[in-house]
């Protein structure tokens, strides 16, 4: 008898969980895509849509491990400069064009020879891409580059149909054609993008019939949309709304770690921030734990490195604990017993609770005598301000879109990349520069050791006040199953089904 009940429960459970085909999923998100051309887009919405339409040679899983996709295997030469990819056979693009080595070479030759928005992600490293056989393609690099597979997992390395590129020319960004599980249907700018199932998909047809990405700029409205049942997924939810959504029986709250480190940069070339003790004092004076718990509602973890824990190469340095007394002592030692005045620039609404954090930090620094004036700036003006090197303290966030530490350390902390490039703290340490350069050429464990050393030195030098690593809050209707999330802030429903 007992067995029967167990079986019944299992059976009912199976009915509830069984993957089902069909249905349309509506995703409410804040911003519209810009351009659906992988080589020529830099925004998160475009990448999200494209990752449903196209595949890459390799792909990230939810843990950011790199797995085969259109390439079933690959070999790397001894010296690390030649990558040979063996492609899957018999795959066709949505427009019928066969997928082969020619198509791959076409895509990468386009990106490295033209001036597209993602050209710089490949051009400095790739010397040539050649189709040596119908299904074998060879990438030759100028020099060994440890993060190359990460770059190939990037959205910019998604493969699109050469026929579409040739047909549409500069308009290809409106007519994406890939090999992926969903086909592009229509795009009404500012309103929605519709995709439909590719029933011929090489991994088997996807469960959903249609996906509609709908633009809903206001966070409060997105929350309403999911509560009213008009949308199945709502992205970027304010932490304060989570408790209410959590008790809603129809809604699943998905909280995931991202790679985004939020920090307050200090101008290392401008007094008093030229003194490392002052920069350390700022780090000690900020109660990161409290920031995470109150302002961020628990949806962030204190940062102890310029890298986030999920970024390749992260090393836990321990960071700076909250210690206002030590901060005061360091300030006195540096010759500022009564603190000093400075301006803290911050964007507003760019990152979750960005300006709220700046205000809270203002209050914390006031406790150790540092009088900070918070200046909110509109994003465009903010970037120009940084470019002109007018900054004293500035709040920023960074998430490497390749998920690799190289794309944090090199642009943000190498002395060759001072503003107007991205090293806005104007930090310079020859030792760190050398470690970053060696890291580019190294592989595996050796590379990790170099990054570990670099992180130790950087945290000691404290060019920034390391604040926290953001989590991303997305919610979806419980009818929807198997929603996936890549920590590079990409939400995927390509393998999801409606129950």
């Amino acid at each position: 008898m007992k067995k029967f009940w167990v079986l019944l429960v299992l059976f009912v459970g199976f009915l509830g969980l069984a993957q089902q085909y069909g249905g349309t999923v509506v995703i409410a998100w804040g911003t519209d895509a810009v351009r659906l051309d992988p080589a020529d887009m830099t925004d998160n919405p475009s990448e999200t849509v494209l990752r449903h339409i196209m595949d890459g040679l390799v792909e990230f899983d939810e843990g950011l491990n790199i797995n085969p996709c259109l390439a079933k295997s690959w070999e790397i030469s001894e010296d690390g400069t030649v990558y040979t990819f063996y492609l899957r056979e018999g795959i066709k693009f949505h427009d019928g064009t066969p997928f082969n080595a020619e198509a791959v070479a076409f895509n990468f030759n386009r990106i490295i020879t033209q001036n597209l928005r993602r050209t710089a992600l490949f051009q400095p490293y790739i010397e040539s891409v050649t189709a040596v056989d119908e299904y074998v393609v060879v990438f030759k690099l100028f020099a060994p580059f440890g993060a190359f597979l990460h770059h190939l997992s990037h959205g910019a390395a998604l493969i699109q149909s050469p026929t579409a590129v040739k047909t549409w020319g500069t308009e290809v960004g409106k007519h994406p054609v890939g090999t992926g599980p969903f086909k592009f249907v229509e795009w009404v700018p500012g309103d929605h993008i519709t995709l439909e199932a590719n029933t011929e998909y090489w991994k088997g047809r996807p469960y959903l019939d249609r996906i509609i990405f709908q633009v809903v700029p206001e966070a409060a409205t997105r929350v309403f949309r999911i509560e009213s049942g008009e949308a199945h997924v709502a992205t970027r939810i304010p932490p304060t709304e989570v408790p209410r959504l959590q008790i809603n029986p129809n809604i699943e709250v998905m909280v995931r770690q991202t790679l985004r480190v939020i920090y307050i940069g200090m101008n290392n070339q401008k007094p008093p921030f030229t003194d490392v003790r002052v920069r350390q004092a700022v780090n000690y004076a900020i109660d990161k734990e409290l920031l995470c718990q109150s302002i961020l509602g628990g949806y962030a973890d204190p940062a102890d490195s310029p890298l986030a824990p999920l970024t390749w190469g992260y090393y836990s340095t321990g960071g700076y604990p909250y210690d206002p007394e030590k901060a005061k002592a360091l300030l006195a030692e540096a010759g500022y017993p009564n603190g000093f005045e400075a301006t803290l620039y911050t964007p507003k609404g760019r990152y979750l609770m960005d300006y709220e954090t700046a205000l809270a930090v203002q209050a914390m620094l006031a406790d150790v005598g540092i009088k900070v004036r918070v200046q909110v700036m509109e994003w465009a003006a903010y970037l120009s301000m940084l470019e002109r090197r007018e900054q004293e303290m500035f709040l920023l966030g960074w998430a490497p879109s390749t998920a690799d530490g190289d794309w944090v350390l090199r642009p943000l902390l190498h002395s060759a990349n001072w503003s107007p490039r991205d090293n806005n703290a104007l930090y310079a340490n020859p030792e760190v520069d050398a470690l970053i350069e060696q890291g580019m050429r190294a592989m595996g464990q050796e590379r990790y050791e170099l990054y570990k050393k670099a992180q130790e030195i950087i945290v000691r030098d404290a060019p920034w006040a390391f604040l926290y690593v953001l989590k991303d809050i997305n919610v979806y209707n419980k009818k929807l199953h198997n929603v996936q999330y890549l920590p590079i802030e990409i939400l995927l429903v390509k393998n999801a089904w409606l129950g």
Partner: protein, 306 residues
């Protein structure tokens, strides 16, 4: 009459030219580099420099201006920096949306305004009159985005009568036009009331009354018809304002209209789109004013223009 039209048309052209020039230079005075925004935050500096060249932003401003004017005369509004789509394509659909929203909002506010204004004029200075005027004032006194959020929560989430935003069906337009219309109705209500009161005091109304027509006939046949003339002016002006002034409503209800596009484009420093939006808004605005004048002169034969 012809001279009047010609004069007004010249005026329209002058306004458009000023608006184009102003939008062009003001945007370039603002701090911020379009190439930087478009390239994306983590873009390498080389990409930004290349984009600047590609967009022609490395040329002197005056050269850019002359080129822009030249292409405008050929009917070419340029391409969006951001999406690389032609500006007209970018604007067209959103313009239609805003037009729909504006027309619905104005229709609603006209209906509400005429009702409130008419009813209070029938019994001036009564409790009802005061009440109606206060109701009309409530609409203009509440911050529109606050009202929008509360409406959305009540009708969209709690009662689930209307969708909380977006486009598609007739039901989508209800809440945004209600919110926007409420703010506009006050002016119409007050205009209706005062004009009606004025007309009711006129000789011909008194004559009509003396001749023994019923109160209803007096109001509808005589007073209202004449009172409507200035109301038409106000309605027309409201249409122009709401066309452009719907930014806040459009934002909260995710209504993909022109106002929202303009604000987004200003933030993104997408100059061609900003300029295009301004031309469209200014043109519509000037055109409604022009049409209002025409309608006004047709409705009231006493008015003749010099």
């Amino acid at each position: 009459m012809l001279a009047f039209f010609v004069r007004r048309l010249l005026m329209l052209l002058f306004v458009l030219f000023s608006v184009v020039t102003m939008a062009f230079f003001v945007m370039r005075l603002a701090p911020g580099d379009p190439a930087r925004i478009i390239a994306g935050f983590d873009a390498p500096y080389e990409t930004i420099l290349a984009l600047r060249r590609e967009l022609g932003l490395d040329r002197p401003v005056i050269v850019q201006y002359v080129r822009y004017l030249g292409s405008l005369l050929r009917g070419d509004f340029g391409r969006s920096y951001n999406t690389r789509r032609p500006v007209l394509e970018e604007l067209g659909w959103r313009y239609k949306n805003t037009l729909i929203l504006a027309i619905c909002a104005v229709s609603f506010s006209t209906f509400l305004g005429l009702t409130l204004g008419g009813l209070s004029a029938i019994k001036p200075y009564s409790i009802f009159d005061n009440f109606a005027m206060v109701v009309a004032l409530l609409g203009v006194s509440a911050p529109i985005f606050w009202l929008a959020v509360i409406f959305m929560w009540v009708f969209g989430v709690k009662l689930r009568i209307f969708p909380t935003g977006g486009t598609g069906t007739v039901r989508h337009i209800v809440l945004p036009s209600l919110t926007l219309g409420l703010a506009l109705s006050a002016v119409i209500a007050r205009m209706t009331r005062s004009c009606l009161l004025e007309c009711l005091g006129q000789d011909y109304v008194r004559t009509a009354r003396a001749m023994g027509f019923g109160e209803r006939t007096v109001i509808f046949r005589y007073a209202l018809r004449n009172a409507l003339i200035p109301v038409v002016t106000v309605v027309g002006l409201q249409l122009g304002y709401s066309l452009a002034g719907a930014v806040l409503t459009e934002t909260v209800f995710a209504w993909p209209g022109l106002g929202r596009l303009l604000v987004d484009s200003i933030f993104a420093r997408d100059y061609p789109v900003v300029q295009g939006c301004f031309i469209f808004v200014a043109f519509t605005f000037a055109l409604t004013n022009f049409l209002v004048d025409v309608v006004y002169s047709l409705l009231d034969p006493r008015i003749r223009y010099h």
